[in-house]
């Protein structure tokens, strides 16, 4: 019995501690991302944003959370109950489990698996289920329309996302995320693969249903899209899931193109700063661009969104996969 305890339980406790060490800061980051979004968009539109609750409005996220907690949970009578309840949980859980493979620093990763990037891609491709299930289970026309749009949109942009990832894999020569970061020592992939970096960023906007591709929500025509019927904590789970997904996608952009935990220049002063700080800074920078885009661009029309995904991004990324492969092979740069 003691042997069993030693063999498994300590491992289990250690792993749980590691998971908490990732999830607790993540949830705090999600809380403050909502505040940052409102403040930054406020400043860009020459308003102040929420600045009343606490100093600089720092307690605003907690006020919002309390408000959502104290609201009534409503189950629509025509809804498919189980699916209706599972959908927000699924969205939230999926936005958290993907963090298992993201390397925050040299060796700072919960699961250093060989196929990390495929795992990340697989989990992000599951995100669409939360949306479809919510839209269908609500048994109401606006959520259903929102879910249909979202399914089509997320699948379309996943294609170009996958092809961009293939170019990165070819340049790095590994499916392990830590190895991909190490391969960027000296030259981040955002420089040689700059067009892919731009396409990846735009695709992540579409994948997370953010402006200018937030048609699944489309307040002006669909009220709020797939989560119209949700209230209270189930709505909060969707909300948290969306923002955690934004942070995840920014973390993914950082890992694949911006050199992960590596400092911008290989000099001793910058190397002295821990990798986690660099990772957080770069992720915050990408997140800022997410918010910036939301504050400055109008929503896309739906047919133009599809045209961009299928007729422009797909041929371009396909061409680039061939080009990158050819250049790597031709100049003997294959890792």
């Amino acid at each position: 019995m003691i042997e069993f305890f030693n063999a498994y339980i300590w491992d289990l406790i250690w792993t749980l501690l590691k998971i908490f060490a990732v999830i607790v800061p993540l949830l705090i980051a999600v809380a403050y991302l909502t505040l940052a979004e409102r403040r930054i968009i406020g400043f860009m539109q020459l308003r102040k944003g929420p600045n009343v609750v606490g100093p600089f409005g720092l307690l605003q996220p907690f006020a919002d959370a309390l408000k959502l907690l104290s609201k009534e949970t409503i189950l629509p009578s025509g809804a498919s109950k189980t699916v209706f309840v599972i959908a927000p949980m699924l969205t939230f859980v999926l936005s958290l489990v993907a963090w298992a493979v993201i390397p925050f620093g040299e060796g700072l990763v919960i699961a250093d698996v060989n196929i990390g990037i495929l795992y990340l891609f697989a989990i992000s491709s599951l995100g669409v289920y939360g949306v479809i299930m919510a839209g269908w289970a609500s048994n109401s026309k606006y959520p259903f329309l929102g879910a249909m749009r979202s399914a089509a949109q997320m699948i379309s942009y996943e294609v170009s996302l996958g092809l961009v990832i293939i170019t990165v894999i070819m340049a790095a020569g590994s499916l392990n995320l830590s190895d991909i970061v190490r391969a960027q020592q000296g030259l981040w992939f955002c420089i040689p693969l700059f067009p892919m970096f731009v396409i990846f960023f735009i695709s992540t906007l579409a994948e997370t249903n953010r402006a200018p591709f937030d048609l699944p929500e489309g307040e002006s025509e669909l009220v709020a899209g797939y989560f119209v019927e949700y209230s209270s904590m189930s709505f909060a789970l969707f909300f948290l899931g969306e923002y955690a997904n934004m942070i995840l996608m920014s973390g993914m952009t950082t890992t694949l193109f911006l050199g992960g935990w590596l400092p911008p220049f290989d000099v001793p002063i910058l190397n002295a700063i821990p990798g986690v700080v660099w990772f957080a800074l770069k992720t915050a920078l990408v997140l800022f661009v997410f918010l910036w885009v939301r504050a400055t661009t109008p929503r896309y029309r739906y047919d133009q969104l599809m045209r961009l995904g299928w007729k422009i991004f797909l041929p371009f990324t396909l061409f680039f996969v061939v080009l990158v492969g050819g250049v790597l092979l031709g100049f003997g740069l294959l890792p």
């Binding site: 069993f4 498994y8 498919s80 699916v83 698996v113 060989n114 196929i115 495929l118 795992y119 891609f121 697989a122 491709s125 599951l126 669409v128 289920y129 479809i132 299930m133 269908w136 259903f144 249909m148 399914a151 699948i155 996943e158 996958g162 499916l175 047919d303 133009q304 045209r307």
Partner: protein
């Protein structure tokens, strides 16, 4: 090994249960959701076998893409579950026969020792199984692999040509055409003297035609 065995029984149980629920669920959408659960758990079984690349492909391709489209179609079709069960009696013998054949084949493989050892055999040699699968596919099975790709391409082109139709009277946006428009082609400046209306209007229809 204890933990691995526990996970094996968990995944295996979930695959069998959700597989049964695919058939038993009254609501077709629930059936598809159970199918997705079955896919997901079989991906778990692949991981336990050490074939993590296949597991991820199963999730990306089947769960992430194929099943989404499947769900999409089932939701749009509004299938009546009672109508589907009408021919149950007549179809029962055929279904039972197909089931028996499949069962017999499986038993033959397992009892006759037709399977070639463990899947883990591919993992030997130090390289990750992604590398090994890639090497196998692009050397020994290159022709078959390319043929499979070609068949899929033909199927895709076929589906597109069958469903694509150009309806009359639908206005389509041509972005290249919009971008080619210049000021000179769309705007004509006509100097109009006050009181000389008939003269100016003579030119106007020509300018108007240019617009289109």
């Amino acid at each position: 090994m204890f933990i691995a065995a526990m996970f094996f029984y968990l995944f295996a149980l979930m695959v069998v249960l959700s597989g049964a629920m695919v058939v038993l669920a009254r609501n077709p959408v629930h059936a598809v959701l159970f199918l997705i659960l079955a896919f997901f758990n079989s991906a778990g079984l692949f991981i336990l076998l050490g074939a993590e690349f296949l597991a991820m492909l199963l999730v990306v391709v089947y769960v992430g893409a194929v099943a989404v489209l499947f769900l999409f179609v089932v939701m749009m079709l509004d299938i009546d579950a009672t109508a589907m069960r009408q021919g149950f009696r007549q179809n029962l013998p055929i279904g039972a026969a197909v089931g028996c054949v499949l069962m017999a084949e499986l038993l033959l493989v397992f009892l006759g020792g037709g399977h070639s050892g463990s899947v883990l055999a591919i993992g030997h040699g130090g390289a990750s199984n992604t590398t090994l699968i890639g090497r196998q596919l692009y050397t020994e099975y290159l022709l078959l692999f390319q043929l499979a790709g070609l068949i899929l391409l033909v199927a895709m082109i076929g589906a597109i040509t069958l469903t694509m139709r150009h309806r009359e009277g639908v206005k389509r946006q041509s972005i290249a055409k919009q971008n080619r428009r210049t000021r000179g082609g769309t705007i004509a400046i006509v100097s109009v003297e006050s009181g000389a209306v008939p003269d100016a209007l003579e030119d106007a229809p020509a300018a108007h035609k240019k617009l289109q």
